[in-house]
């Protein structure tokens, strides 16, 4: 366990009490609505806001433990932060932004700049090395901000809404790049976001925060397939399919999914439970995405019912109570599931 934190802070109006764990090499998404305490949590990890209770332990080093009187100042924590608005130092070039942390750790200017140039070149930013940070495009600035953080080899990388400020046209590409960067990163990472897609694409584990407390925590697969509250279900309750795409065909284990838009390589796709149609017998018509299933669980969710379906492609479907009655399905019943290609949202990994 690399990061093991119990963040307790008294805020105006409510108490924040959140447990976070992130193993080395894994990415933890902290997701929740605005004002839930996500930003305060990050400030505590950075050491800007001391804890009122609980403790923060990183790699067996106690960073903040008010009960024991322990507090490590931010510059000794080796926790780097990338803000939504990136905050590249506006008076420095891209090169000197990346070199900043190396210089702070005592490397010579020449050495630090050399390494910064190498890193920038590897990210296709050789031409921008000498450019003022303020002149970079959104995507370039994002890459520079990440390099600036990663070059110091932080033990923990914090990302606050890393994609929210980006133009939608570059968000997809930047997300994939961020995913690759995080895959290579050997420390732990915590991504704070209010966007479920960010969590689904970037994270291995997820913590859902609501009003200062943890609504649910677990691996991404667990939380998406078994949301424990309506709130979590609305936010993250979806079918997550990982697989390999070739054109409009996505293979996931024995199942083949047909996509509306072509994709290549390692991908994952989300299918909303409400987008799945359940039939008692093989459906006729043009839907090519149809699979024979067995109903393994039926759980009410308000006006609706969630069906857990097992087969080549395990799925969760959400249907109304009257249609469940009309279909006459019970646990153990055979059934067919179908979904339109346009309801499958694919993302490159």
């Amino acid at each position: 366990m690399t990061l093991d934190a119990q963040v307790q802070v008294d805020l105006d109006g409510f108490a924040l009490d959140v447990a976070l764990t992130a193993e080395r090499g894994r990415v933890l998404a902290v997701i929740g609505p605005n004002g839930a305490g996500k930003t305060t949590t990050l400030r505590c990890l950075q050491g800007i806001r001391p804890l009122d209770g609980g403790r923060i332990v990183l790699d067996d080093d106690v960073l903040d433990h008010p009960a024991a009187g322990t507090f490590v100042v931010p510059e000794r924590r080796r926790i780097a932060m990338v803000h939504q608005d990136l905050l590249l130092f506006p008076h420095l070039t891209a090169r000197d932004n990346v070199a900043f942390g190396l210089r702070a750790r005592g490397r010579s200017r020449r050495d630090a700049r050399q390494q910064a140039d190498d890193l920038l070149a590897r990210r296709g930013l050789a031409a921008q090395a000498g450019a003022r940070a303020t002149t970079l495009s959104g995507g370039q600035a994002q890459r520079v901000a990440l390099l600036r953080a990663l070059v110091t080899e932080p033990r923990l990388l914090l990302l606050d809404e890393p994609l929210a400020a980006l133009d939608p046209s570059v968000r997809g590409e930047t997300r994939r790049e961020l995913r690759r960067t995080l895959d290579e990163f050997t420390g732990s990472a915590v991504v704070v976001t209010h966007d479920p897609i960010d969590a689904l694409t970037l994270a291995d584990d997820v913590v859902v925060i609501e009003h200062g407390t943890v609504a649910q925590a677990g691996s991404l697969g667990e939380v998406t397939s078994r949301p424990r509250s309506r709130h979590v279900a609305d936010l993250l309750g979806t079918n997550l399919v990982r697989g390999t795409a070739r054109g409009t065909e996505l293979r996931s284990g024995p199942a083949v999914l047909h996509l509306a838009e072509p994709l290549e390589g390692e991908v994952f796709a989300t299918i909303a439970p409400s987008a799945i149609t359940v039939h008692v017998s093989e459906p006729e018509g043009s839907a090519r995405n149809r699979w024979p299933m067995t109903v393994t669980d039926i759980e009410p969710a308000g006006e609706r019912v969630r069906l857990r379906l097992d087969g080549d492609l395990p799925l969760v479907a959400e249907i109304t109570a009257p249609s469940l009655a009309a279909l006459g399905l019970q646990v153990g019943s055979p059934a067919w599931a179908s979904v339109k290609a346009t309801e499958i949202n694919g993302y490159s990994r």
Binding site: P74, M81, L92, R103, A104
Partner: protein
Amino acid sequence: MSVRRRRPPALVLVAATAALLLFALPLIGLVQRADWAHLLDDLRTPGATEAMRLSLTTSLAATALAVVLGLPLAWVLARTDIPGRAALRALVLLPMVLPPVVGGVALLSAFSRRSPIGSWLFDTFGIQLTFSPAGVVLAEAFVAMPFFVITVEAALRSLDPRYEQVAAGLGATPPQVFRRVTLPLIAPAVVAGAILSWARALGEFGATITFAGNIAGRTRTLPLSIYLQLESDPSGAIALSLVLLLVSFAVLIGLRDRWLGGGRP
């Protein structure tokens, strides 16, 4: 889309014109009374060159003092939670509203050779502040430093603290953060504050004459020299006044982005 501007009412227009004339007429009078043919000769007299040289060196020294001492003070006022900070800020701003002659009397009470500090300085180091160029620097710094401190403090307050937090996350110690992030980001305010306090120091009269006296070549700065010459040599006084007017214009132009740029619709 441009909105048609409202015509100002006549009474407002008259009052505004009167106000403008109040500023403009004295300046026009000064320029019009100048003896342009002999201007350079007037500035080349030993008394004039001496006063200009003394003013330049003392005002620059006072500015240096204001920067070296004012920067830490501005930082303390902007960034720390020391008790009584409001009272401290009021104390720092006091010289801006205090009549300079009162400032001079106050400096005299604190640093004259008969005061505890003044006698200690003289007995221990042989330093006498009153009636010396060092006293001029002290008097100028006393009235000028507040301009530097409030300018820099405001810049520190408006600086996004997250820049400094990011730098700390990258391993920079507080001194490194200040030198490599904070200072470069507030550099425009530091320069503006220094220019402002230099202009104020250059024009200092009341505190200087009260505390440092009026000794030719030692404490007789430009403003003192102008005041003295007005009786004996009016054209020389006007020539020196024009020099200070020119400097004031240069300062305004230097700070135009900061002061004159903000009012555009």
